[in-house]
Amino acid sequence: MTLKKQNAVKENNKDNMAELNDLLLGSSLEENIALLRNIFTNDETLVFRRFQNRNIKAVKCCAVYFNGMIDPQIVNKDIIQPVLSSDLKDGIDIHNLPEELQYKVIASGNVNLENQLDQIVSSILYGNTLLLIENCEKALIISSNGWETRAITEPESEKVVRGPREGLTESIIMNITMIRRRIKDPDLKLKFREIGSKTHTRVCICYIENVASENILKELEKRLDQIDIDGIIDSGYIQELIRDAPFSPFETVGHTEKPDVVAAKLLEGRIAIISDCSPSVLTVPYIMIENSQSNEDYYNNFIYSSFNRFLRTISFVLAVSVPAVYLSIVTFHQEMLPTPLVLSISASKQGVPFPSFFSLLVMLLIFDLLREAATRMPTLIGQAVNIVGTLVLGQAAVEAKLVSAPVIIVTALSGILTLMNLKLIGAVIMIRFLFLILSSILGIYGYIFGVIAISLHLLSIRSFGVPYMLNVTTLKGHNWQDTFIRAPWWSMKLRPKIIGAKNLVRQRTKKTGGKKTG
């Protein structure tokens, strides 16, 4: 019984599209319509619009499309009207009719002849219009897709003071347009594929030939081929399915919502993965230092940018360390502090019933609760949350002697520092708790153990074969130029090594041609 059941389940799960693989269209118009009706049963949005040519009654047609997926203008003006009113000759060969219509009648940019049913079904689903003709075994597929898309706006998560405000949208074509407008070069390659057995999401691999590394491209294609999933709703699915170091809190595949960032990364030799219906574009390989890079760094004065980047790097280190170091000093190594400070800290701890570790842990958790609540809530309620958070959990908690004031200061400092590096937020939160627990057991030594362990982890992971800590540890040659600081543009003549391994030269100047390209 179980075997039968399993088989039945298998039958049900079988991909509908696969069954259509070998089917062809018939010659009878009504039979074809019935066939399509049968495939799309219980789907009222599929429209069958039958019509005839004015002059020749034999030219019976039927336009098939999905309501809402097409642009009615195109269907009315460019498909139905020309076929209705065209003055075809009487003695026309009915077998040549599709070609005749394709070449002489229909006024649309993209028309194809097709008789494979699976192709036909998928193109209707994509928003094309199908034109069935009586007594023909081939049908015309006319591209007519048009649906409402979101306007181009500035992405909330990556705001800039200076630089392009454009943000990517959910439409893959629009995204590609935005990227191509920035890189107008035939070397910009776009490879399309479909992922998802149900969603058939279009995914585009975008790279610049002769700059992007072929090995990384091959590896990426291999990993994309291995994906076998029913649907890709957002590029986040792909991100997690193709990443290295799957258990690491650090991202090894980058994502951005800004076309200028994508273009800049493509120029550095990275590869972008654009997924339909998702405004975030993935970039590989992704290395640690990119977490603290911002696109604005490259548009502003380099001294100011370097300072900002330095702040971001330091804030990552501080965000994970401050609670742990505070805890280990007040519980284990009070002798490290000057006496007045020790006195004032212990005075503020007077009357607080909980140990420092517990109150720090709870306060950090509450901070994260507030952050998560504020992200998900409508803006108006969010303000209420802010007020409650700051007043009740800050001052009131100290006055009620539930926590000591230094704990609040440490929590707030660490929380704000976390928000400096939005891309690292997940990693920072996890590592902060790890360090806190370690230093509650072994004091500052526990913290050092944690630092060594995290450094080992960071040094061991790779993103598509590129070491994650690339350019952080080896300050050799030109590689330091875009790490903790942002070197001035006139000095960055080469692309980062390994990533853009094929073509390192970025700027050509005759004066200083000293550096080799090897």
Partner: protein, 369 residues
């Protein structure tokens, strides 16, 4: 995963950390009292020929580790026997380092914590590192060493105003005897302990690398140890040789103005990193030895069990801190002498003989190297 490779720079950093690891906190050559810094130089000079033999061995058999070399030179049975001794040596040394760290923690910084906790912590970290492999250990030491050097130099700079160089006098006050004695002690701990690295440096890039790595690293580390010994003596005077952890006490005396004082935590940071590097190398070599003896596929598979055993051994190995001190300065040098000198010399002689024999035999032999 391909062959593991580490660059020369990483190897130098690794060897330096290994050599300085527990030395920086335990001190060397206490037999020589205020001439301990001379004893360091003596130890360095004594260790140079041995180190050249180690590097020669590695360059005769490039890409091979100690245990394969033993197999090829001493034959299968004897080779395995000596390999067992080396495994024990590495394993035991790792446990001793763990124990040093634990003793340091409970006597100096955290008296309430049971000694098992810091040792277990460090042991876990070592297991984690060794499971990642030698490449990662090499990379992290190339990344930690500069940080440590900066800390060391800053502390040294702060200490200079308080130096009392009269503590160094009289130079050679008791004659050469104690210096040679202390030198021998410094030779066996830490310089010749680099014999352990024979089991880890299968991953050097070229045939020339071993010489460069060994000589540079030992010279740098030796100079640093000497400078720090001078620092300790000139800050503490006669007290140096009576303390278990002279560096820690010496640095705790540094105070600049009212602001910078009690900076001994820097010493313990350095010690943590050094102890980590040293014991993880020991664990790595021991597990590689077990892999070779039992012909396992991957040394990473025995690391967890071996690491837990190492932590337990470090827990039971001494009864008191005094015993640790007695071992480190009185017994250890005789115990380690065969592994550090006798076996390597024997292997080296056999290897040279075999090489000379095989060279005229056919043209293939040089190509294999």
């Amino acid at each position: 995963m391909g062959k593991e490779l580490i660059t020369d720079k990483e190897a130098i950093c690794l060897l330096m950390l290994f050599t300085m690891g527990s030395t920086l906190i335990l001190g060397v050559g206490s037999d020589a009292k205020n001439d301990a810094w001379l004893a360091v130089i003596a130890g360095l000079l004594m260790s140079l020929p041995v180190i050249l033999i180690y590097s020669r061995l590695l360059s005769i058999f490039p890409g091979k580790d100690l245990f394969e070399i033993l197999d090829m030179t001493l034959g299968r049975l004897l080779g395995k026997l000596v390999a067992l001794i080396y495994i024990w040596y590495a394993f035991h040394l790792g446990a001793l380092v763990l124990r040093n760290f634990g003793e340091f923690m409970v006597t100096m910084t955290m008296p309430e914590t049971p000694i098992f906790v810091p040792m277990l912590g460090l042991g876990l970290l070592c297991v984690f590192a060794v499971r990642l492999g030698i490449e990662e250990i090499g990379r992290i030491s190339a990344y930690l060493l500069p940080v440590l050097m900066i800390i060391l130099l800053i502390v040294l700079g702060l200490a200079i105003p308080q130096f009392e160089l009269t503590n160094l006098k009289p130079v050679l006050g008791k004659g050469l005897g104690p210096v040679i004695n202390g030198g021998f002690s410094a030779f066996s701990f830490p310089f010749a302990e680099s014999a352990i690295l024979l089991g880890a440096f299968f991953c050097l890039k070229t045939k020339k690398s071993p010489f460069k790595v060994y000589t540079l690293a030992i010279l740098f580390a030796g100079t640093l140890i000497m400078v720090l010994t001078i620092r300790n003596i000139s800050l503490l005077g006669q007290l140096t040789s009576k303390l278990y952890f002279p560096s820690y006490v010496a640095v705790s005396r540094i105070s600049v103005g009212d602001f910078i004082q009690r900076i001994e935590v820097t010493v313990s940071i350095i010690f943590v990193v050094g102890a980590f590097a040293k014991s993880s190398i020991c664990l790595l070599v021991a597990s590689r030895g077990i892999q070779r003896i039992f012909k396992l596929k991957d040394y990473r598979k025995v690391v967890i069990q071996l690491g837990s055993l190492m932590v337990l051994l470090s827990y039971i190995v001494y009864d008191t801190t005094m015993m640790m001190q007695y071992w480190a300065f009185k017994v250890y040098r005789y115990y380690a002498f065969p592994m550090q000198v006798i076996f390597p010399v024997i292997i080296w002689i056999i290897a040279e003989a075999k090489k000379n024999k095989s060279k005229p035999a056919g043209k293939k032999a040089p190509a294999n190297e």
